[in-house]
Symmetry: C2
Subunit: 340 residues, 2 copies
Amino acid sequence: MAQNSGQGITIYDVAKKANVSISTVSRVFNNSPLVSSKTRKKVQKVIDEMGFVPSSIARSLVSASSKTIGLIVSDITNPFFADTIDGIESVLHSEGFSVFLCDTRYNREREANYINQMLEKRVDGIIIFSADISGIELLTGIKNELPIVSIQSAFKEVDCVNTTDEEGAYEAVDFLIKSGHRKIAFLVYDYDNSTITNRMKGYLRAHDDEGIPVNDDYIIKMKFNPNAGYYMAKELLESHPEVTAIFAYNDMIAIGAYMAIYQKGLKIPDDISVVGYDDIEMASIISPGITTVSQPFYEMGRTAAELLLKRIKEEDRSIPQTILLPTRLTVRGSTRTLTP
Amino acid sequence: MAQNSGQGITIYDVAKKANVSISTVSRVFNNSPLVSSKTRKKVQKVIDEMGFVPSSIARSLVSASSKTIGLIVSDITNPFFADTIDGIESVLHSEGFSVFLCDTRYNREREANYINQMLEKRVDGIIIFSADISGIELLTGIKNELPIVSIQSAFKEVDCVNTTDEEGAYEAVDFLIKSGHRKIAFLVYDYDNSTITNRMKGYLRAHDDEGIPVNDDYIIKMKFNPNAGYYMAKELLESHPEVTAIFAYNDMIAIGAYMAIYQKGLKIPDDISVVGYDDIEMASIISPGITTVSQPFYEMGRTAAELLLKRIKEEDRSIPQTILLPTRLTVRGSTRTLTP
DNA sequence: GTGAAAGCGCTAACAC
DNA sequence: GTGTTAGCGCTTTCAC
């Protein structure tokens, strides 16, 4: 173990003690091949003894690269963000980059503040994974100078990594239809963004392809609130008890629906089937487990980081591209086949 | 709007264009009073026009302070971490500090890696909010050089910010007893740490103080798994259906218990009352809302940050101190009064 | 009130 | 293979 954490110790201290020049010290901890193994060993020993840790600040100043990327998310507690962050870091760390992570909590002011911090810190690029679009608006002012990759929000002006939302919803609803369900509700937030639009398209197209008419009354919308799923399902169960399946826009809504169903004294999936979206951890904890559309969050992170790194390295500012990643239906206990 | 984000523009560029020296430019964006308002206005205009953003890298190098603190958490998706992080940032930002946030996901290797990154980045201090103790072990090697504050894990060698776990559990169980409950189960993880020990103490002392004997069979233990609450409650309901109330070690366990109770066809709180701990968001989403012990997460963050800042500023390395923050029982629909 | 100059800890030519 | 040296973009004395 080193005697200390190297705070305050510089290459000069190491050089002096090892009787070499600072260049040699620099070469050693940069793994330059231009050092004899004998010198390297000698210097490394002194580095370890003194607990020397090179200052990334000084390195950044001369190399004109902070080796840091900024990551903006709108809500770090959102369970699937963690996997995405993992994916991002897995590729970034192997390239020696670190991540400056900022949680805006859907707050514009914080967002602006963080972006300014990133500029000051001279991040080499920015990845933004924000449910709403506002952060991206703020970024447009700098997108010509700094590579930017957006995850899960379609935006033509920067590189994007998205999932196939329409197909995911299609697969979920198609699964219900093929299981014999005909009266399938859709519980969704009342907003206008590409994700909602695409999942709605999938819901409609699945009906269309199977020749099943859509009953507009089965589409329940509500502005976002943490309890929205509960209220929407409650309303649905009262007004349309004939419904045999619910497709929820996401797992949080599905969980709210569970509560409304349980309180009505109904059983899942015996009386009603439920399908969610996202596959958050709670989807497998709750009982029965939620049949849901899993998104490749880790892969999304990896893809975004690779895209960004390519832009950083190649200084490539050509036309922004969008990469679409596929989803997968995970079947658990919340759905059953309807035998007529 | 600035023409660009200032990447690549230095104080020399600004100085030249404004016809002043670089010192003056520096004084302007540092709000030094030693500039005439006329000069200030002139320089500020150029700064805005060019979109100059000072490099925190260069500033850190000369000022020998990164104005950054490292924050280590074991799982950012843990819902209450977000509030704590908010609290931390609220005090840090007002002092011009930024936060380097690292999610170790309970992985030692990542932890060590992040600590090394923090050392390289020359953070001015570290706050660690990690369920397990390992991170703190890693930090002991550097605690003499860098201020460290730990949140929610008792550790004598560094400053700590904790909550009154025993009192929180006491208040919860006392509330149940005062509501007429006599057969109260405790569902808890099977580990040996101070938080678990303290809540157990609270559970026992509440019984003791009211002269109610504790039935050891009502204390159900299980190693951590995401579904532990469900399994423990299931076991309890089968072996001891006479129980009228459950005190869960945390809200996740309480939610698992809800599932087991619902599947048994029982109603909450009619057939059985449930009390949780933490007051995570889901505690108010789920139905009925969970009566639970709320922790002052935001305040914990603020307190930790203030403690750290004090250490950083005063270069104060005196005896580590521990600050205990109180909890509060939040009564919702999951509990009822038992009329004999 | 303003400017000149030294130096923070490193990297990267360039010289030997 | 190794050392010397000139900066990187700022802050901070110290003159004026």
